[in-house]
């Protein structure tokens, strides 16, 4: 009997011939990532009382949630982490202005490779399954244990397989696909499971789009999620990662708990929207009704990459953001920021009336750079719409693709990009 990707990676990392679901194994960790909550990890680590981390070269710390520091409290936290990084000789540290959102920086800078076990003190660490890594989120105290021992216990997850075929209709993206799937399976639909996305429609996707799937798989409870290790991925990795790259794949006779088939052409006729206050409260755009939009956000580890800024620029080009709406754009990293500058996307967005935030989590985390007031509606390309996530507990967050966010910013209400682009200057505000 063959093994799934999750089983293969855990078997090797725990020094076994094979493993099967529900078995508990102790696996070696290849990479341990933290953002500002490295400060919490540091505190737990100091409490344990071991002097040195197990392997400084395997720890990566990236500031992204509150950059630049928005308060004295955060500044103090940042300082404590910087001092710890220096004292422990941790070589991979991305300070303000050097990195961006952790899940963007990690692969961009070549830290992620197929077959590795990667843990991060952030739930969306599942993102790195787009690079063939067994990657999952853990808490700060657990990370202190990893910093101490370099190993962690895992229960081997059973696996779901999602096969996607068919052609995406115009304006429909990976974001719509994954929202559709979450709506179908529910917020706990993949709890504790490994999810493997596969099929021709996935193999055609850019690496950036695959990251949207593995990122949001977390919102249906997935422990890890994978897209295929294929030529598309390898050509992304080769210039970034040193040494041999392992082409890892599930065995043809691997056992899946369930296989779900999706036809992108037939099942995704319209953009999908996750309505307040749950990511699995997914409706096709036309079923949501008239929603005036006060804030529109493009960014985050879900949809803050070049292809996202490109489609947004395409939608807003030559138009103006609606007078009642604020459009906020946060490039996911310094690299994305530079590239978007060079390609003119930011020029187009700013000309339309967007405000550009520094690379980082921005308003996604609800602490700075675009907090919502009571009664406000926000359409966002991010990944969570829980009560109070982006500000007031009486605000409302609709999750959508970057194209829908950009269109809604122009229309001043939830809108289909096609309608905005077709109707041209109808919503143009007076200067």
């Amino acid at each position: 009997m063959g093994m799934t990707l999750a089983e293969k990676i855990l078997a090797r990392a725990s020094g076994r011939e094979r493993v099967s679901p529900d078995q508990i194994v102790i696996a070696r960790v290849d990479l341990a990532m933290s953002h500002e909550n490295a400060d919490l990890v540091r505190k737990s680590f100091l409490e344990i009382g071991v002097e040195r981390v197990w392997d400084p070269s395997k720890i990566v710390i990236i500031f992204d949630h509150r950059v630049p520091a928005e308060s004295e409290k955060t500044a103090t936290t940042h300082r404590a982490v910087r001092e710890f990084v220096a004292a422990q000789g941790i070589p991979h540290f991305y300070d303000v202005g050097r990195g961006g959102v952790c899940h963007q920086v990690l692969p961009e800078e070549g830290h992620v490779r197929p077959g590795m076990v990667l843990v991060g003190t952030d739930s969306h660490t599942t993102t790195h399954g787009a690079f063939g890594a067994f990657a999952t989120g853990i808490g700060a105290t657990e990370m202190a244990g990893v910093w101490t021992e370099g190993t962690l216990w895992f229960k081997v997850p059973s696996s779901l397989r999602i096969e996607v075929e068919g052609e995406f209709p115009p304006w429909i993206s990976a974001k719509d696909l994954i929202l559709h799937i979450i709506g179908k399976l529910g917020a706990a639909g993949a709890d504790y499971r490994a999810v493997e996305f596969n099929g021709p429609a996935i193999r055609w996707m850019s690496v950036a789009s695959r990251m949207v799937l593995t990122n949001l798989a977390m919102e249906m409870g997935a422990k890890v999620a994978f897209t295929p290790v294929d030529e598309v991925l390898l050509s992304f990795l080769r210039p970034r990662v040193q040494g041999e790259l392992e082409v890892i794949a599930p065995d043809p006779d691997a056992v899946y708990e369930r296989t779900i088939g999706i036809d992108a052409g037939a099942d995704l006729k319209e953009p999908c929207i996750a309505c307040p206050h749950a990511v699995d409260n997914v409706k096709p755009l036309s079923a949501v009704g008239e929603v005036p939009i006060h804030q529109a956000v493009i960014g985050s580890c879900t949809n803050g990459r070049i292809e996202d800024l490109e489609v947004a620029a395409r939608v807003v080009a030559g138009r103006r953001v609606h007078p009642r709406t604020r459009l906020i754009v946060s490039p996911a990293s310094q690299r994305v920021y530079r590239e978007a500058l060079q390609l003119g996307y930011l020029e187009t967005l700013v000309a339309a009336g967007a405000m550009v935030n520094p690379p980082g989590c921005g308003p996604c985390v609800g602490v700075h750079q675009g907090i919502l007031a009571a009664g406000e509606n926000c359409v966002s390309s991010t990944n969570r719409n829980f009560i109070g996530r982006m500000g007031s507990k009486d605000s409302f967050v609709y999750l959508a693709s970057p194209a829908v966010v950009a269109a809604s910013a122009i229309a001043g209400r939830l809108a289909h990009p096609e309608a905005v682009v077709k109707e041209g200057r109808v919503w143009q505000a007076k200067a």
């Binding site: 202190a144 706990a188 409870g221």
Partner: protein, 180 residues
């Protein structure tokens, strides 16, 4: 000692629904509070502030499926623990929350039928190892998933930090002949 500490008795403070996410438990805006004790002040701040205000030490929270979904924030588990909650009983837990709770020494008990079989104020007796919860108020007993051995070991130690502390202290002692 371990056996004793893995049996709990207390009252139900609140019975909550499904998908209680970490933003409900502990709002993101307080993530820069890194003193675990202080997190308790913001427990349930946005959605159930009255629950927090009424908590007596050792009381239980009972909830539906997928408790603790969302962010990896350990503060969610810490806030419950330091507000005095003795255990969370839910139909199921999101995995990171479950691990955080156990790592901080907060029992997280999986019992699919508990929410339907208790009300706020009921007194429960939880046997973590056997996987049984008796509602002393109604006389009903519901099944719970017995803790797996690894989690039981961590809870018995009081969480991951004391567990590792002990482990490494022992190792340090073992390598030092004068203490043998």
């Amino acid at each position: 000692m371990a056996g004793e500490s893995l049996k709990l008795r207390g009252r139900v403070r609140a019975v909550l629904g499904a998908n209680i996410d970490t933003d409900i438990i502990y709002p993101g805006r307080y993530l820069n509070i890194t003193d675990r004790e202080k997190t308790a002040e913001h427990l349930f701040e946005l959605s159930y502030p009255d629950v927090r205000a009424a908590i007596q030490a050792g009381e239980f929270i009972v909830a539906g499926a997928n408790f603790g979904c969302g962010s990896s924030r350990e503060q969610a588990a810490a806030a419950l623990k330091f507000a005095g909650i003795g255990a969370v009983v839910a139909a199921s837990f999101a995995r990171i929350f479950f691990r955080n709770a156990i790592n901080l020494g907060l029992p997280a008990v999986v019992a699919p039928d508990m929410a339907a079989n208790c009300a706020a104020g009921d007194e429960l007796e939880i046997d973590l190892v056997a996987g049984a919860i008796r509602n002393l108020t109604t006389g009903i007993t519901v099944q719970a998933a017995p803790l797996d051995p690894r989690a039981a070991e961590l809870l018995a130690a009081g969480g991951l930090i004391p567990y590792l502390k002990h482990k490494y202290l022992q190792e340090a002692n073992a390598t030092c002949p004068s203490t043998v």
